[in-house]
Amino acid sequence: MNTTIELPGMSMKTPILPASGCYGFGQEYSQFYDLDLLGAITVKAVTAEKRLGNQVPRIAETESGMLNAIGLQNPGVDHVIEHELEALTSNNIPVLVNIAGNAPEDYVETSRKIASSGKASALELNISCPNVKSGGIQFGSDPDIAYDLTKAVKAVSDIPLYVKLSPNVTDIVAMAKAVEAAGADGLSMINTMVGMQIDVTTGQLVLANGKGGLSGPAIKPVAIRMIYDVAQEVSIPIIGMGGVQTVDDVIEFMMAGASAVAVGTANFQNPMICPELIQALPVRLKELGFENMQDVIGRSFASCGQPLSL
């Protein structure tokens, strides 16, 4: 079965890619398999300046999920371009570069540098960071702020732009429409949900940062719902993510409306998960009676001539 998918800036031979922050810059997992097997690679968030990130503990386990508060640790955009992205140029897969910041200028500068480096296929704007200029409101929770940021980044970048939506909002569709109107070429969803854990033996918050982002299978039903809602209201493609573990999860995300599916937390449990899913996908699709992978995308709401199975 043909599993290729054409997304803005990214010609993928499989719709499966790793999610940002769970895969470093790829070098660690290249010890396990050839990265060229992937549909694309999403790298860890890059910021204008080097960041040391939060204190430890940075993660906590929850039921079928985990909280993380890494704090955007990264060596800064210049170093990333020179070393990390440079290393990836020896691979033949699209590179999606996740961008973060606390002020619009950070995002703009980082995006401009990455785009003009020629070493990225597309940008993924991580708008879940607090906007220091707007009193800490997340870029990702106000449609107007997200619109402005998307516009500003589009203006300095000539490569496609994916905006990564935060699920911590009342109306995800409004967010999606705002960034689409501002020129986003695609959406990534969902980022983590804000959560917290308390150690009852000490009464203290487990994460040094207090709050963290919930990821993993626990959040999958929320991700599926949000993608389902958004996919029907926008015409740009969606990279879906949130708790993917099995090939049926990949298909569920596609049926909800995702054109590609990213795997985050599951890499920690099984470092071979990406190649395993990539191999299993065409087999499982055939088993389910599909002849064409494209038919799966949006299947849950797209009207379909005949039932898939009886």
């Binding site: 769970c22 997992y29 430890v56 993660i59 993993g216 920690f268 470092p271």
Partner: protein
Amino acid sequence: MKLTDASIVHQTLVAQEVYELKVSAPDLADAAEAGQFLHIQTGQFGQPLLRRPISIADIDRVEGTLTCLYKVVGKGTAVLAGRQENESLNILGPLGNGFPINQIERGSHVILIGGGVGIPPLYFLAKELVEKGIQCSAYLGFRSAEDVFYDKEFEEFCDVHIATEDGSYGHKGYVTDIVSTEGVVTYYACGPKPMLTKVKHQLPIQGFLSLEERMGCGVGACLACVCPTNTEQQYAKVCSDGPVFPSKEVIL
């Protein structure tokens, strides 16, 4: 470093809530070194979600087995303790960098300083040191007499000094109170952070510290497990840059 479905040879309770786990995994046994660790999927059906890092306490390359010693402290270790003989255990490893011993000269004297479940990796280290003709003394600290394990095993390779916090066995107090560095070229320490901090700051010589930190991936990709360092990078990843660090590099 690879994924292995090892088979559980046995699990035995060796002290209060401390289990000895022996698994059969010949490739892993061949590849592993003292001080490295295993990232273990403790349960079945992917539960709990995250793997648990556990040090390698012993290796039998002839038998193709590895031994770990772990304490039940929470969900993951409780689940592990419930796993049965012959069941398969999914292991990612060996991970991290072991204790450097090549620079130590034959005939010199080193000390091992371990606290609680920080002791296990020192056991295989002791074996290897002795095999290389290096003399070693072990300083082992526990909370109480019922927590003591592997004291006899260590005695086969080195002279053993035990401290318990409540004095119910060996010296009363912390292990750092009884350590002597006279004639010693270096030390290898593993244990809780307060112990390592004391070791680093109180001892007049440099040595190696094996750190613990909460881990996600175990391979250097998620940045969960960092510790601050004096190096240019300013931080290191315990899983892939460590868990063993020269004592002068880490900030404690």
